[in-house]
């Protein structure tokens, strides 16, 4: 491998860690035959095909299909992320879930949450206008923010407030009056059979025949069609008009751009501080804002610009983010191939992800999760380390067995433990270990006589390393 090729493949490893959940060396070698920009295009434009995982879930984990409990929706999503051939779609679904955080403690029905996830997957790369419009009609969001209680003669501001504050523009860029007017426009945006569904939900009723999915229903006679004033616009504004106005705002573009930078480039301060602390890289945010308007609010094109930018490809931002629990565990389960088809132990893995602090469909609040260094405390760090160590150290899992055999074949000319550690780090995605990490690991394995044990121990150590825990 010459220097240029290696640089390229290391950049691809960075890309795949950010745009997906990481790739092994053999996966990277396959895509390295293409120019970097083509790989970005493949990620951004590729539509999923021949993915049979949905059938596997339905057959081998019925609760992840029928979803009486919300955990079923978590397992379904986890399995999808592990086995998907469109990693960026999954990453973007996760991205939007972090912003439009909707939780099981109020929605209760796993199927309804899962349908929201599917909606985010379907629209997550499209125009922001389409994403927000579908979000406004999403039954899980309607229940989460009480819009079924938002009536023509008695408005409920919850959805209107969060649409502006958390989902699009950020606090300080609108008035209290704008919130009220926004809420008025969305009166009557409800769900079908709302009385029955609310009674069932209030009692967590599964009876008689299990859960029923919710569907959006526009109650025309409950919709306020009178004139409204919103962000300088006036008229009988509808919910659709409100979203169009929101998406035309520069503040919206800036808000989404900063989220994107935070999730794909480097950890930023948490959202509540965004009004007080400027972005780490204002030029990068401006590039993304320009892309937003140039490409008609297309999230797909914003991402293409981001991945092809100098600020993304800069070595300075590699490992500048701490992996979220989901990123960490999905990447590990992809490597280990513990779940070639779903089975019972997915329940345990899903619980472990929750203990690390990120239960899917179970955000701590409507604000979502605080990321970056806040993922780490003494408890969650132990969970992360144990999870990584167990996943990478179990030779009974197909992915690890294949990996160990491959590493062993490539070690015939290895003369030092440092070399072995480097080969292992390369195999699981070109992890760039620091000198200290390399030295510590080499010393730790020096007394292990048997090669398989040595390789497995090395993989476990890498999984627990600072470098692997970051992205």
């Amino acid at each position: 491998m010459n220097t240029k090729t290696r640089t390229n493949i290391e950049l691809l490893a960075h890309l795949m860690r950010r745009a997906g959940f990481g790739s092994s060396l053999s996966e990277l070698e396959k895509i390295a035959k293409k120019p970097y920009e083509d790989v970005v295009d493949d990620l951004v434009y590729h539509e999923e095909s021949d993915w049979v995982g949905e059938y596997h879930i339905r057959r081998f984990d019925p609760e992840a299909s029928g979803m009486i409990n919300p955990e079923g929706s978590q397992r379904r999503w986890m399995y999808r992320m592990i086995t998907s051939n469109t990693p960026l779609k999954e990453k973007m679904t996760l991205f939007w879930h972090g912003i439009f955080a909707t939780g099981r403690n109020k929605v209760l029905v796993g199927k309804v949450l899962s349908n929201q996830t599917d909606m985010l997957r379907t629209y997550g790369l499209s125009k922001l206008d389409d994403i927000l419009l579908n979000l406004a009609k999403d039954p899980a969001m309607i229940i989460w923010l009480d819009n079924q209680e938002n009536h023509k003669n008695s408005i409920n501001e919850n959805w209107g407030r969060e649409l502006l504050e958390l989902f699009s523009m950020g606090v300080g860029n609108y008035t209290e009056e704008d919130i009220k007017e926004c809420a008025r426009a969305f009166t009557g945006w409800s769900i079908g059979n709302v009385e029955y569904m609310m009674v069932r939900a209030s009692r967590a009723s599964d009876w008689p025949y299990g859960r029923l999915a919710y569907h959006y229903e526009f109650k025309d006679d409950d919709n306020d069609k009178n004139d409204k004033k919103f962000l300088g616009h006036q008229g009988p504004l509808s919910g659709e008009d409100i979203i169009e106005i929101i998406c035309s705002q520069e503040n919206t573009a800036r808000f989404i751009a900063r989220h994107m930078y935070h999730s794909f480039v480097e950890d930023e301060v948490e959202i509540p501080s965004w009004n007080d602390i400027p972005p780490k890289n204002p030029e990068a945010i401006q590039i993304l804002v320009d892309a937003y308007f140039k490409y008609d609010h297309s999230i797909r094109e914003m991402l293409r610009v981001l991945f092809n930018s100098d600020f993304f490809q800069s070595p300075k931002v590699r490992y500048a983010r701490i992996k979220s629990p989901v990123e960490l565990s999905v990447g590990l389960l992809k490597l280990s191939q513990e779940f070639t088809v779903p089975h019972r132990d997915m329940l345990l893995r899903n619980n472990q992800v929750t203990y690390m602090g990120q239960g899917l469909n179970d955000p701590p609040s409507v604000e979502g999760w605080h990321e970056g260094i806040e993922w780490i405390d003494t408890g969650t760090l132990m969970e992360r380390i144990n999870f990584a160590s167990a996943a990478l150290g179990n030779i009974n899992h197909k992915g690890i067995n294949d990996l160990v055999n491959k590493i062993k074949k490539s070690t015939s000319n290895v003369t030092s433990n440092e070399e072995l550690v480097q080969i292992c780090a390369n195999s699981i995605g070109l992890i760039e270990l620091s000198y200290d990490s390399l030295k510590t690991m080499s010393e730790t394995i020096s007394n292990i006589p048997e090669l398989t044990d040595k390789v497995l121990t090395t993989l476990r150590l890498i999984g627990t390393s600072r470098e692997f825990q970051r992205v």
């Binding site: 339905r58 299909s65 009385e195 029955y196 008689p208 229903e217 019972r344």
Partner: protein, 338 residues
């Protein structure tokens, strides 16, 4: 020519983690004593919910056995059910990769089976059925083959491998053996039913008559006295009756009404019942953008949702077990003239 077709009769069941009812039922059989036995997987592989339910057509409930656990007599993930010639009930467990058997009264009699890929070892046993020699055929799903044992677990033979050629399988699920000892296999991953005679492939069904009705991941199959077969077309969320020539004769989407147990629940839960009465649980217009039958079934309560088993009783009544709706829809034959 006089022929027959099926019409919705009744629904049996209600969702229940324990006692009277089902939770993610996986298979049912109508045994020689006239009772219906139903295997339940439960929602989260938990301690409650896993069991074999014992009931009858009139919804009389006789209790349950084979509850959750790793000890003998317990089950973790019951899958297929079958009765042998000695009136014993056999259950495959796809988590422990074992076969347990009980008397029809639910007394545990024995257990065998070893996880693995070698001949005689099992990986995710699903559908099971006995032939006239009292040999047990097992859809050894993740090994993509059929294995044959004595009732006590002595290995006799196996056939099939992963693939889509005749006689090969991809994650086979439900199986059925007719009175001529011909074997029908729901070859789930290959979207077809394969028929075998003396372990040799003799026919494939895929509902080829119409492109729009091709079988999609079938889960279960049985044969009518007429020679037509009934298929749980799981991926399409329908049940199909196919002729011996593989032509579609009848297709059901599901018409469930309220079972006796469901009715008892609704009568005592007035608020739910009253709001249910003013609801429309069949509003297809509201979900017109949906194309996936599975998603549609999540909304329309009367439709099949994950039909995992089709079985017949002595009157040729058809029992369709639906995993995600925790019930059995029963269809009866009516005669018609062509």
């Amino acid at each position: 020519m006089a022929n027959s077709e099926y019409k919705y009769d009744i629904t049996i069941g209600i969702l229940a983690m324990e006692g009277r009812g089902f939770e993610y039922p996986t298979d049912s059989i109508i045994a020689s004593n006239g009772h219906i036995y139903v295997g339940n997987k439960s929602r989260d592989y938990g301690e409650r919910g896993v069991r074999i339910s014992n009931l009858d057509y009139e919804s009389e409930y006789y209790g349950s056995f084979g509850h959750y656990g790793f000890d003998e007599g317990n089950l973790i993930s019951p899958n297929g059910l079958a009765e042998d010639l000695n009136n014993r009930l056999f259950v495959s467990d796809d988590y422990t990769h074992q076969i347990s058997y009980y008397s029809l009264e639910g007394v545990f009699l024995g257990r065998w089976g070893k996880h693995g890929t070698n001949p005689g070892e099992l990986d995710y046993p699903s559908g099971i059925a006995f032939n006239s020699k009292n040999h047990l055929y097992i859809a050894d799903s993740k090994n993509h083959r059929i294995q044959v044992f004595t009732p006590e677990g002595n290995f006799l033979k196996s056939f099939g491998s992963l693939g889509n050629k005749k006689g090969q399988f991809n994650l086979p699920w439900g199986i059925f053996i007719n009175k001529h000892d011909e074997l029908f296999v729901a070859d789930w991953g290959n979207n077809r039913i394969q028929k075998f005679s003396n372990d040799e492939h003799v026919k494939t069904y895929s509902c080829k008559s119409d492109n729009s009705t091709y079988l999609n991941h079938p889960s279960s199959v049985t044969e009518l006295n007429s020679g037509n077969i009934v298929v749980a077309d799981w991926g399409n969320e329908t049940v199909k009756i196919l002729s011996a020539q593989d032509n579609l004769i009848q297709e059901f989407r599901g018409e469930s009404g309220i079972s006796k147990w469901a009715n008892a629940f609704l009568e005592t839960n007035v608020e739910e019942n009253e709001t249910r009465k003013i609801s429309n649980l069949e509003n297809l217009d509201a979900i017109s953008e949906l194309v996936d039958p599975h998603s549609i079934s999540a909304h329309i309560e009367k439709y099949f949702w994950s039909p995992v088993s089709v079985k017949l009783d002595s009157k040729e009544r058809l029992y369709v077990t639906e995993s995600n709706r925790h019930r059995i829809q029963v269809y009866s034959q009516i005669k018609r003239s062509d």
